[in-house]
């Protein structure tokens, strides 16, 4: 009895119905403003800022300090989840009459949990292939990485990937190789590449990438069909000595070679890569049109999937509503280019993709049972009367 009251005392504030109402109201406000802001920052950035964040932040002009002012989707979801579970622990007493409610709430808990898992484990990338080309990696459409590649081993390369979000002017990033440090001398979140004679004035923020190209700072873009391409001037230091300095741009991802104690290395700023233990070759891309018109009828990519570890070597045809599913990844037909000789496949990794289907099924079943029982007893009472 003592134990039960302790549990109840602990869960009671968390199980409060007022908390549920406050969270639901806050979620409505969040969804309203998050949806409006999509006009300014695009769908993906709005998702990150409003729905996949712990808090919404604002910064005072000229200050780097971020001050939270409203709970984000992750926080609200987590509180609602805790609220629902606590309510069950503190108040719920099982009776057969409440089976429907139990199934319904379990479905809701599963849905919230699944969404929480998705927001941390989902991975979205793109695989761009020319006909005949093979790749064992896909690239992020949103994020970039500064990759330092250790090529000293004969059979494999070691990649040290620094997220581009860490490339902030003045930052010093320790690297997990032979006491190396990466110093960021300057960085642009988004840069355009121009030829030297197009530079508006010598004082305009820019880096010289080579004799023919200059990277100039441009405003961050949120447009759906554009990508931010960062640029950075970085130096690698070892024990206080500078090994080398480079100017790099993600829009021109050419690796630059250098040596650390005679071991060959490369450095490159490029779209973030996700390597796979298998490879995909584009055998043929097809863009069918309706006869006599230029209207697209069908896009399809004939690819060859090769996974030597499990002796997988097969052809697959990817077209609308027929993605290729392999190793927990789904490859959808997403784009094309290069006069129909290049395909773009959207690569999705979402380990909990089945959860919404299962939880919606559970919630439907719960509602049918609950209302069914009410209907059944109502009908029975009328019959008796």
């Amino acid at each position: 009895m003592m134990q039960a009251s302790l549990v109840a005392r602990f869960f009671k504030p968390l199980a409060s119905l007022k908390l549920t109402i406050v969270c639901l109201a806050a979620a409505m406000v969040l969804i309203f403003f998050g949806t409006l802001d999509q006009v300014h920052v695009g769908v993906y950035e709005a998702q990150l800022r409003y729905f996949r964040s712990f808090f919404l932040f604002f910064s005072l002009p000229g200050s780097a300090l971020k001050i939270p002012y409203f709970p984000g989707g992750t926080t609200l979801g987590a509180i609602l989840l805790a609220n629902l579970i606590a309510a069950h622990v503190a108040r719920f007493r099982f009776t057969w009459k409440k089976t429907g409610i139990l199934i319904l709430h379990s479905g809701l808990i599963l849905l919230l949990l699944g969404q929480l898992v998705t927001s941390f484990s989902e991975e979205e990338s793109q695989l761009q292939l020319d006909e005949g080309q093979t790749k064992n990696y896909s690239e992020s459409p949103y994020f970039d990485e500064l990759a330092i590649i250790d090529r000293s081993q004969p059979d494999s390369d070691r990649v040290i990937s620094v997220p581009a979000s860490r490339l902030v002017k003045g930052a010093v990033i320790p690297l997990p190789i032979s006491g190396l440090e990466l110093q960021v001398d300057d960085a642009f979140e988004n840069a355009a590449l121009i030829s030297p004679n197009q530079l508006p004035s010598p004082s305009y923020p820019h880096f010289r990438l080579g004799p023919m190209a200059i990277a100039v700072a441009v405003a961050k873009t949120y447009k759906q069909d554009e990508r931010n391409e960062p640029a950075a001037a970085v130096s690698l230091r070892q024990g206080g000595n500078v090994i080398g300095s480079w100017t790099l741009a993600s829009g021109f991802p050419q690796p630059k070679d250098f040596k650390v104690s005679s071991a060959p290395y490369s450095i490159v700023l490029r779209p973030k890569r996700y390597y796979r233990p298998f490879s995909i070759t584009l055998e043929q891309f097809q863009h069918d049109r309706y006869a006599g018109t230029d209207i697209a009828k069908n896009f399809s990519s004939k690819v060859r999937l090769m996974d030597p570890a499990v002796h997988e070597n097969r052809e697959a045809l990817i077209y609308m509503n027929h993605p290729l599913r392999y190793a927990g990844l789904t490859f959808y037909q997403a784009g094309f280019g290069n006069n129909d000789h290049t395909t773009v496949l959207q690569v999705m990794k979402n380990p909990s993709w089945l959860v919404p289907y299962i939880s919606c099924g559970m919630m439907t079943l719960g509602l049918v049972i609950q209302f069914g029982m009410h209907l059944f007893s109502f009908v029975r009472k009328r019959v008796i009367a």
Partner: protein, 205 residues
């Protein structure tokens, strides 16, 4: 409850993406460069220019933007460097490129008209070619000379540049001209509807 909010605050405040390390199968440098996400210079046409290397020129590894790279060693440790590069369009224009070479040998930039007077024009394999010869002023601390050739095909500009100490460059002038005249352009201007590197969504109409 307070604890939960505090933890969430801390998680939010400390959020910083981590440096990650992973191993990948050895990849050909060339493959890793084949990256479609918006290259500055779309790769040269499938069949780029071909050329014949003069005797005595040593091939050097290709780096950065070089499609051809050679070295010639002189006596007393001096050497000459030769590079072949190619860029889409006019690559910033002839004037700015020649003035850039002039700056490299500490010569002042010239106006388009005066610049044009000092340039030699030829035709190589049917492609208009401009020959450049610039060097540091007499008595310069570190004398240097540049021999250059700029080919303008319909869609690209090609640069051949030979740099080194004036005497050694002079001894290579004949080989340089022989090299420039050996250029053969298999594609003199092929415009494509969608330039490589640009992709469209299948949702676009």
């Amino acid at each position: 409850m307070t604890l939960l909010v505090a933890v969430a605050f801390m998680l939010a405040a400390c959020h910083e993406e981590k440096v990650s390390v992973y191993r990948i199968p050895k990849e050909d440098n060339q493959v890793s460069m084949e990256n479609g996400s918006g290259n500055l210079a779309p790769p040269p046409p499938a069949n780029p220019a071909t050329w014949t290397k003069p005797d005595g020129w040593e091939e050097k590894p290709l780096s950065e933007m070089r499609l051809g790279s050679f070295g010639i060693k002189g006596t007393n440790g001096e050497s000459v460097d030769v590079s072949v590069t190619s860029f889409p369009g006019d690559a910033g224009g002839l004037e700015s490129n020649v003035n850039r070479w002039r700056e490299q040998v500490h010569q002042p930039a010239l106006e388009a008209e005066r610049l044009a007077d000092g340039l030699q024009r030829e035709t190589v394999d049917g492609v208009p070619t401009v020959l450049v010869d610039v060097q540091t002023a007499p008595g310069a601390e570190k004398p240097s000379r540049i021999l250059g050739a700029v080919f303008r095909t319909d869609d690209r500009t090609w640069f051949v540049k030979l740099t080194g100490p004036p005497d050694l460059v002079e001894s290579q002038k004949e080989s340089f001209m022989q090299f420039v005249k050996s250029f053969h352009f298999s594609s003199k201007g092929e415009t494509t509807e969608n330039p490589p590197g640009k992709v469209k969504s299948t949702n676009d109409r």
